[in-house]
């Protein structure tokens, strides 16, 4: 598992951890049912507060990315298609926001923008 | 407690070398001297030096701030005080034995010191040399080394004057006269010294426990 904390960015540390672990789970670098580092162990290795890592893990568990076995630890939840689909939908939405922003920047109307999209999708076939 | 005593020992080894050198000098000189008459003070001066060591150790403690630091360690204030008293007692006993040995050696070479005179000297000097820590330790533990030092010098003066007066009263003007009840005085003096030492010990513990550093 690779985690890198950027102190200087405005993003809260728990958010950075959450995002990075999530990405590795979805991307497959972290395998299903793989044991994750303990909350306390991870915190001490990264030299941050364990409350921070606890929060990241809690978020991940809430979103269904990991599950806890009392006495054993936290494990990567089996990937399901639903999660992946949702993940990809989020990416599409982010890209669309970017498209809209760029379109506005060069003065394209909504109709013109949709034309470009249609054109691009036709190319894919 | 063991650790505290070890620390006192390290300090003595380093800082009280002069005392030990002077004590050795006195012991050797008094053993070698052939002249008649028992010079009370000279022979047993090393015991007085032993009596000064505990307060010297206390001065070093205050200077290095060991008194504050030891409060953070797993030892009680009573133990810190007791380490001083115990060290003092052990040194005293050691010195007394050495001084008695030196006097016996002198006697064996044929000087005008009798056994009873030796006994009397020993008894009185035990009392006198114990009085130094008995008086100065509680004062220094209560008021700190700076202020306590003033009281300490007062104590030394009183001790010297007192021992002179004591020897005058008990031995008369002539040091050749030994009072008949010399052994009783000697034993009484030693007991009194030890009892006072014990009381001073307890008093010091009480005073130091209540002190804010």
């Amino acid at each position: 598992m690779t985690i890198w904390i950027d102190n200087r960015s405005g993003t809260p540390i728990y958010d950075q951890i959450y995002t990075q672990i999530r990405r590795q789970i979805v991307g497959g670098e972290l395998k299903e049912n793989e044991l994750l580092p303990s909350i306390r162990g991870l915190a001490k290795d990264l030299r941050i507060s364990f409350i921070t890592t606890k929060r990241a893990y809690e978020e991940l568990e809430k979103e269904g990315f990991l599950y806890t076995v009392p006495g054993k630890g936290c494990f990567v939840a089996p990937r399901n298609a639903e999660l992946i689909r949702e993940e990809n939908l989020k990416k599409i939405e982010a890209h669309i926001e970017e498209i809209a922003r760029l379109g506005a920047a060069c003065g394209l109307s909504r109709e013109e923008l949709l034309d470009v999209v249609r054109f691009g999708l036709e190319d894919e076939r | 407690m063991r650790g505290l005593l070890r620390k006192e020992w390290y300090l003595i080894r380093r800082h009280c070398r002069t005392y030990l050198a002077v004590a050795a000098l006195f012991l050797v000189t008094s053993a070698a001297v052939k002249s008649g008459g028992g010079n009370l003070f000279m022979t047993f001066y090393p015991c007085i030096l032993a009596g000064i060591v505990p307060t010297t150790l206390l001065a070093y403690d205050e200077q290095s701030r060991w008194n504050v630091y030891s409060d953070t360690l797993a030892c009680t204030r009573a133990q810190v005080v007791s380490a001083k008293y115990l060290t003092g007692l052990l040194l005293e006993l050691g010195m007394i034995l050495l001084c008695v040995a030196a006097s016996l050696f002198r006697m064996s070479r044929g000087t005008a010191v009798s056994g009873r005179e030796l006994l009397l000297q020993t008894g009185l000097m035990v009392l006198v040399s114990l009085l130094i820590p008995v008086i100065s330790l509680p004062l220094m533990l209560r008021f700190g080394v700076e202020k306590g030092r003033i009281f300490f010098f007062a104590a030394v003066t009183v001790t010297c004057v007192g021992s002179l007066a004591l020897s005058r009263t008990l031995l008369g003007d002539s040091t050749d006269q030994i009072p008949p009840h010399a052994s009783a005085i000697a034993v009484g003096a030693v007991l009194a010294g030890l009892v006072l030492y014990g009381l001073s010990w307890l008093l010091s513990i009480r005073l130091y426990q209540n002190r804010e550093l």
Partner: protein
């Protein structure tokens, strides 16, 4: 079990009053006590150890009242004050032998390893050591008797950044065990900011706050802009505002900032300085 519980702790000196203080250090946590010089950090730690007599309040260390059997409580507490009061003539090895006779659980092997790791010189008398080396020796001693609670008072000031980093790492390792806790008081905040779980601000003897560090940093933010823009923010939510030639800046409660205004993250140190300025 809470490592440390302080309730209503109070002590009055001439011209200064500490408390009443309420502070809890949960087990397995690191609490950073931040305050300017003279705020009362050292006094608080001395009161915890009963080195000074308190006027009122209770102190519970590792579940035990600090008035009872303090000696055996101190077996499990490692303390480093801003000055290590070892006798001038002692070397590190001699110090180890003295401590062996004081602490029941003294670990000579651990002591030797800490000395090596921190780079404490062998064979040198204490008075010949630099301030940094003295502190390192003090830290080695405090860690070597299997303590469950560490009380460090300004223990890292006077150490170079490399050693400070190593000490922070040692503290992180120490608290891997959830039975171990650390109370760290300092006015150098930057090292500790990352590893502390809780932050407490002490100012003129009063506790301004004691909170989870993460929550604290989420609650407050840094805003800057034209003086007029900042005036739009409710003054009750502003910790402190300062105006300069090129604009104004302020630390504010994030929830009070109007939408659209940029908020930058704030550090614990900035938060403390502004909070103190706001108090005046």
């Amino acid at each position: 079990m809470n490592a440390l519980e302080i309730r209503g702790l109070k002590k009055t000196f001439s011209g200064f009053q500490l408390g009443p203080l309420d502070l809890t250090l949960p087990g397995g946590c690191i609490l950073g006590l931040i305050g300017e010089n003279g705020a009362g950090k050292s006094t608080t730690i001395k009161l915890i150890l009963n080195m000074l007599r308190r006027e009122s309040g209770t102190v519970t260390i590792l579940g035990r009242d600090n008035g009872q059997d303090l000696r055996s409580i101190k077996e499990e507490v490692g303390v480093v004050l801003d000055e290590v009061g070892l006798p001038d003539c002692l070397t590190s090895a001699q110090t180890g032998r003295v401590m062996e006779g004081i602490f029941r659980q003294w670990d000579a092997a651990a002591y030797a390893s800490y000395l090596r790791e921190l780079g404490v010189p062998e064979g040198k008398a204490f008075k010949e050591m630099s301030r940094g080396n003295r502190m390192k020796l003090g830290i080695a001693v405090a860690l070597s008797h299997h303590p469950r609670l560490l009380l460090l008072d300004e223990a890292t000031s006077g150490l170079d950044p490399v050693v400070r980093d190593r000490v922070v790492e040692m503290l992180a390792d120490f608290t891997r065990d959830e039975d171990h806790a650390v109370l760290l008081s300092s006015h150098i905040v930057s090292d500790l900011e990352r590893i502390c779980d809780y932050i407490a601000f002490l100012h003129k003897g009063k506790l301004l706050l004691c909170q989870e560090k993460d929550r604290l940093l989420e609650e407050y933010g840094f805003v800057h802009g034209a003086a007029g823009e900042l005036a739009a923010i409710d003054s009750a939510a502003v910790l402190h505002r300062s105006e300069g030639r090129y604009g104004a800046e302020a630390i504010v409660l994030r929830r009070a900032v109007p939408a659209g205004m940029a908020i930058s993250p704030v550090t614990v140190e900035e938060l403390f300085v502004h909070m103190v300025k706001g108090e005046r």
